[in-house]
Amino acid sequence: MTEPLLELRGLSGGYPPVSVFRDVDLSVNADEYVGFFGPNGHGKTTLLKTIAGLIDPWDGGIYFAGKRLNAEGTMRARVSHNFNYDLFRKRRINTRDVVDAGLIYVMQGNLLFPEMTVEEILDIAPRAARSRPGVAEMREQIHELFPRLRERWSSKIRYLSGGERQMVSIAAGLLAMPRLLMLDEPTLGLSPKLRIELSNAVRKIRETGVPLIIVDQNVEFLTSLVDRLILFDHGTITREIRAGDMPDHDQLMDMMFGGAH
């Protein structure tokens, strides 16, 4: 058994003082597609943002390729509001360490940089790759994955449609040469046509050999794509389903809500 690429051990977090997810244990292997499914507002995005280093984890550990990304120990609670804690309290996880390690997070409903053009963004995106090789090949692949972007090459993000923005986000994430890519609801709020186009692109990312964690509300899309489906409910992982016995939409609803939906 090889060592998992990403491992969460007893991870807890949230927006102080509100706890959003508790004791999450998860391991993702280097060749795996993992899907997250769960109701809105139950902490999937917060969990991913914590792994990406945007939010300080409260407790537990995030290990990526054998390296610990967050600080040891439990976060101390804020005891006084009459004090600029930020001056003394260091961040417990650094986004740049996470990116340097090759764990890239593509945000949900991402506006990216509204006043920059597609070309400008894809020019600076490989800076996240640091010394990881293969940026030039990835550029070629991105043109094949998202032919639509070439038409909008010098448009500002502000003028792009939601689907095109999502494509730029994913393209920028891929140009960072990820060792693991986390996509947060890539098909959120898209028209059915664009949703199919984007789903096909996400499917094709598999050919580039990049492992993926993907959060989505579309059951058929998820179950057809991933090796393992993780049900996330009330801030914890409630169930893991392997590729062999993927449920359909109704079965999944039964599992999550006990048939009372």
């Binding site: 930020d86 986004t95 340097d100």
Partner: protein
Amino acid sequence: MAFDTFMFILMSGILLGGLYALMATGLAVVWTTLGVFNFAHGTFVMLGAYIAWQVTQSVAGGFGFMIAVVLSILVMFCLGFVLHFALIKPFERNQNVVLLAVISTLAAASIIENSVLLGWGPRDKQIAPPIGSKIDFFGASINTFDFVILGVALLTLFALAVFLRRTTMGRTLRAAAQNREAAELMGLNVPKLFAITLGISAATAALAGIFVGSLRFISPTFGADPLMKSLIVVILGGVARFTSPIYAAFVVGIAESFSAYFLGLYWSPALLFAMMIAVLLIKPEGLFGHRSKTL
């Protein structure tokens, strides 16, 4: 009014506009990137002028004007870079960061101003302009150096615009300005980029300060006027584009020099404030802008 008088007033207005554009762009870049107003901007202008003045003095070796300009810009860039970590970074995770930054930059302005007063004394000083000749411009006799100032100011702004649009470094600066979280997820060192922005702003302020110091006298308190004018320009023009405060700077400069001729020197600030209030009432996002702030 004779044509040569008109030309003279217009040219001095355009010169003022160029200086204001240089000052206001520095302020606008910090506002659009860091999201705070830097009330120490006026003292950056003043300190830049003092550093250049000191370098040209015989005590410090009596270097030429060009060396003074380069040294002053370098020192002010470093000061701006360092001050970001002292004035703004400690509060950046606080939700009242805008208000806290007002206080901390005002404090810095006061400290810099009084340090200059302690170090260089209250007496007025002037940087000797490197070119003393005058040229005849449509009947008006205008200092050659004024044209040089205008040219250098516009060239600097053009170079800054090219840097922000065309170079990877400038593009990462704009990325950090437009969406901080997404910039962090791209692995950009956002605090460093913000510090560089404040450094660039301080460097342009220093350049403007040197030019003002070679046209007028410099004293420890002369930073108040550039700060006020930059604020008026930024509010008047808005920050929707890189160029909006530049257009507004020429409007303000020309309005100021004509009102100084027709209304008198004491009434021209009143006119500028009246213009600013009118713009705030009618088009709050600025004359040359829509409701957005970008770089």
